[in-house]
Amino acid sequence: MTQGQPAARPGTAGGAAWRQLRLEQVTRRFGSSDALADLDLTIERGEFIALLGPSGCGKSTALNCLAGLLPLSRGSIWRDDTRLDTLPAERRGFGMVFQNYALFPHMSVRGNVAFGLKMQRRPRAEVARRTDEAIRLVRLEEHAGKLPGQLSGGQQQRVAIARAVVLEPSLVLMDEPLSNLDAMLRLEMRTEIRRLHQSLGLTTVYVTHDQEEALSMSDRLVVLRNGRVQQIGTPEQVHTQPANRHVAGFMGYRNILPMRAVAGNVVEGDGLRLTGTAVGTVSSGDSVEVAIRPEDVHLGHGIPVTVGVVEYQGREVAAEVHTAGGVRLHLRTGKGLRPGDQAEVALDPDRLLIFPIVPEDA
């Protein structure tokens, strides 16, 4: 297994040394609605980027636009100074792993993996050598002669990955590749994809709706909603400093409460007065939304609550509690709670985020 960057190969679009891929105002319109609006993104060579968002947010559209499977309505895609969006998919030199794998059912595993090399008219010896190498990389040597239909979902997935990476593409695009696998296999494949990325140094754009997957795998996240970028940042930035309430909601801030600001960092509503950290400009009298994760709602001195629903989750329980003013809060705790218990909760001011309500959010 080679370390570092893929070797430059003459004739492949992806082989030549390049520094960055740029998406400039990439827009895709379906009818009168923008499936993807003004996506600006610079991808450094070797980066692992996750496109994250709920279904219908435009992340798959973005991937298909990048791959050349969907024409852009506006904008451009560049690799350094080469414009790519005018090239058809087969000349971009990107590899793609499809959600349903899209393996050629009439070709063996070997045939599938060798397909791209044959399209490049590589010498037969080189095709055989690189095909074997890629099959070894995904640990399918014993299955090389089988048809895709004879493989399990995880194995098919690995064939799809081998088929995409064997060409050493400048960019690997993955469209929710783990969504058809069961929970255990998904964790395993997640590690495997990350391992492949590290060992081959392949630049990757990975589409997912699973925030945990995106956080654990990527170097940078692009959070999308309604076709628009909400936030671009490292997993830590997006996790701890969500740019708006939508990102917060997507990142596990399960408690989102509408309130009114009485000072820059103090809010009131429904009989509660809370101190938090403002994200953006908040002035007294503004309508705001405050967000806090269940794990940052602690049992302790503070707001009296009544325990409603309790879910057992192994080490912890997740509980839904109500304040006297009727506010519903989710919390997680190691202590045993029972429905109907009286308790008091404290909200960590550093972890309580205050978002101004922006009209376009509605």
């Binding site: 793609m96 349903n100 899209a102 059912p105 397909f115 048809l147 979902g153």
Partner: protein, 291 residues
Amino acid sequence: MVALRHRLADRGIDRQLLLLVPATVFVAALFIYPFCYGLGLSLQPAQGGPLGAYREFFADAYQRDTIMTTLRIALPAALLNVLASVPIAYRMRGRFRGKRLLTTVLVVPITLGTVLTAEGLLNFLGPAGWVNRALTGIGFIDSPVTLVHNYWGVFLSLVITGFPFAFLLVLSYLSGIDPSLEKAGATLGAGWAQRFFRITLPLLAPGLATTFCLTFVLAFSVFPSAILVGDPSGTTRVISIAAYEAAYVRYDYAGGSAAALIMGLVELIVIAVVLGLRSLLYTGTTSGGKG
């Protein structure tokens, strides 16, 4: 106590299949019985023992040659129908505006029936038809070309009536091929021709073989157009005409039945050959993985 239904199911008996009995009886009464009756008739000629009618058919070149005559019309017509359907269906496999209208226009000839088609062909392609008048008018030809009352008339008629069947079948086979396979091919560097010949065509080929068999059977039993737009005593004297003449002109029922059975046998041979070749192809799933 296990329900009777489950105990029967364990032995592979599904009582709901009993609902198929009326249909089975219907098929037996309307197909198997006449077939056996015809077979019996063909084996009881007025003279020459049980196989006399068959021997007579093959001894007489005028009868025997109808097999080749029919094959010469039916095989190319079926082949053209299948081959012409492929590019058209391939272009139409996606979604686009006006697809339903275009499909309707392509399929309408099915509803016309052979007699109407033949009448149209006579008017359209006849010596004083539009085509010849247009061609002579622009000076492309000096005298009208003969396109009806010969081989080409029948051939065209079979294409017009057979194409819609072939097209509909090929379109449904093509729609069954996962579109993401060609997309995957594109991202792996395959141009459209490579995508078609290396991915789509191999997956479509078994369907094409089946389509060919069905359109061939339709074309092989050609009768009305062979008479109406063909040359029924010469180049388009097809086997069904031979059977008809034997049975209803000469009142030789044994000869007619023998010709009909020979016709069926030739069809079966062609189908067996095509399906034999088909079994050499990949015939598994046409989807690219888990959906």
